[in-house]
Subunit: 240 residues, 2 copies
DNA sequence: TATCTGAAGTGGTATAGACATCTATATATA
DNA sequence: TATATATAGATGTCTATACCACTTCAGATA
């Protein structure tokens, strides 16, 4: 139900409610949503408020609106899931695989020029330098090198780095990721990469550099990932 | 100015007006926009209408809103441009390069099983089969194979296929692209690819399959592009 | 039977006003 | 001088209402 005294806005509550119904399967792909006016009556709220909730979900790809007909649950589940995924952990879960990590390296070091520039911090400022093998169902999938400003993210430990760092940021430090820039290229595996990923040297590799930012534009991390090309394809949805 | 009798909604007119001011440089990164209430008075329209225009631009990445302070032009121009680009022509222009094409093949053929499935049409239905070398500043950049349902897009000619097919769809047929699914992988160049792209066989290639859809989910085209890895990197922005 | 017509229901656009919450600045107070 | 405090102005949320354009479908009409 809707709580008008909650600090969470009404439209956000309704949004969450509908999203939960979709994700739990109560509303399936193609199903018709109750009409806007029905939501109004049912919850005793105004139509503009209902529209704000529904429009947000439509823009996020959960719903599809049709003038004169109604609002429907979007057919393409995969796209919804793949929209806005940035972490390896989330990505693998969405693909139905079990993510894990093997920590190769964990250290606080002074930032070199290039890292400092990418993270918008002074040269020699302390940064975490983390190197992990990322695995799916126990198989090596990618070799990942992460740099995070130590002043921005206190208390990071090797134990946390073995799991999802994103999760730690959002749940324990309440640091909300806003967006990431990704650059993807195709290269051949170096000696190091082929060794850790257990593939022949010279095999194709999908190389991904991801820089992640907060709402105000502050960089939180820069990650370089080398994915095994025989195991991993990168999937995106582009909306016009 | 705003025309209240235009078939184009007021919020869309205002949206376009502001976008033009940003793209023409009248409003630069970091600049403060007039307040919502000022827009209301200036154009004699209501605040909700102004908000619809501004919110759309904020979601598209043009503007950044700050409660209690104001609305500002977003700092990161590149991202705006790279958001929502799907065509090679647009992509190259955004990178400041001159796109061109060399037509290798143009034919209407009956759809084979896999193509028919991707395009959601009956097997053996006619489809355009187009093969092009895509060039930037005259240099070969990618080898591209396109399939388009012939019944959906009448009147496609080799001449048009030498330029931007997207442009033809949108401007001449008023077919509005809604979104694309992209799958990107890293492979090594086949004989054909290395020949046309003028690179050694076995070189790394960025392989991209892009399926494009209309608002109602109808597939318009499926494209397989093989990019030279030494010349091309794929850039995306992911918003949470 | 086949076709037109109109009503009901849907989402799309727009108005005018209200109160809440946050930010920055100016002013009064210790 | 330094610290509270008030206030003006910004965006955020929400209401109640109105009319429009489009879709669907039942019922009237030819």
């Amino acid at each position: 139900m809707i709580n008008k005294n909650s600090p969470l806005p009404i439209y956000a509550q309704l949004e969450e409610q509908i999203r939960e119904q979709i994700e739990s399967g109560i509303l399936g792909p193609g199903d018709t949503l109750p009409s806007e006016r029905e939501f109004c009556e049912r919850h005793g709220i105004s139509r503009m408020t209902v529209r704000q909730a529904i429009n947000n979900l439509a823009k996020a790809g959960y719903l599809r609106r049709e003038k004169g007909r109604g609002t429907f649950v979007s057919e393409r589940k995969m796209e919804q899931q793949l929209q806005g995924l940035t972490s390896f952990t989330e990505d693998m879960k969405a693909r139905g695989r079990k993510p894990s990590s093997k920590l190769l390296h964990f250290e606080i070091v002074p930032a070199v020029e290039s890292i400092a520039q990418t993270l918008s911090i002074p040269k020699h400022d302390p940064v975490y330098h983390i190197k992990r093998i990322r695995m799916a169902d126990g198989e090596p999938m990618a070799l990942e090198t992460t740099h995070i400003p130590a002043n921005l993210v206190p208390g990071l430990t090797p134990e946390i780095a073995t799991g999802s760092i994103y999760n730690y940021l959002e749940e324990h430090l309440s640091i909300a990721i806003d967006y990431s820039n990704q650059v993807i290229e195709s290269v051949t595996a170096s000696e190091t990469e082929s060794h850790y990923l257990d593939i022949p040297s010279g095999s194709p590799i999908l190389l991904m550099q991801r820089d992640t930012f907060l709402k105000d534009g502050t960089p939180v991390e820069t990650v370089k990932s080398a994915y095994r090309a025989d195991r991993y394809k990168f999937v995106t949805v582009i909306r016009r």
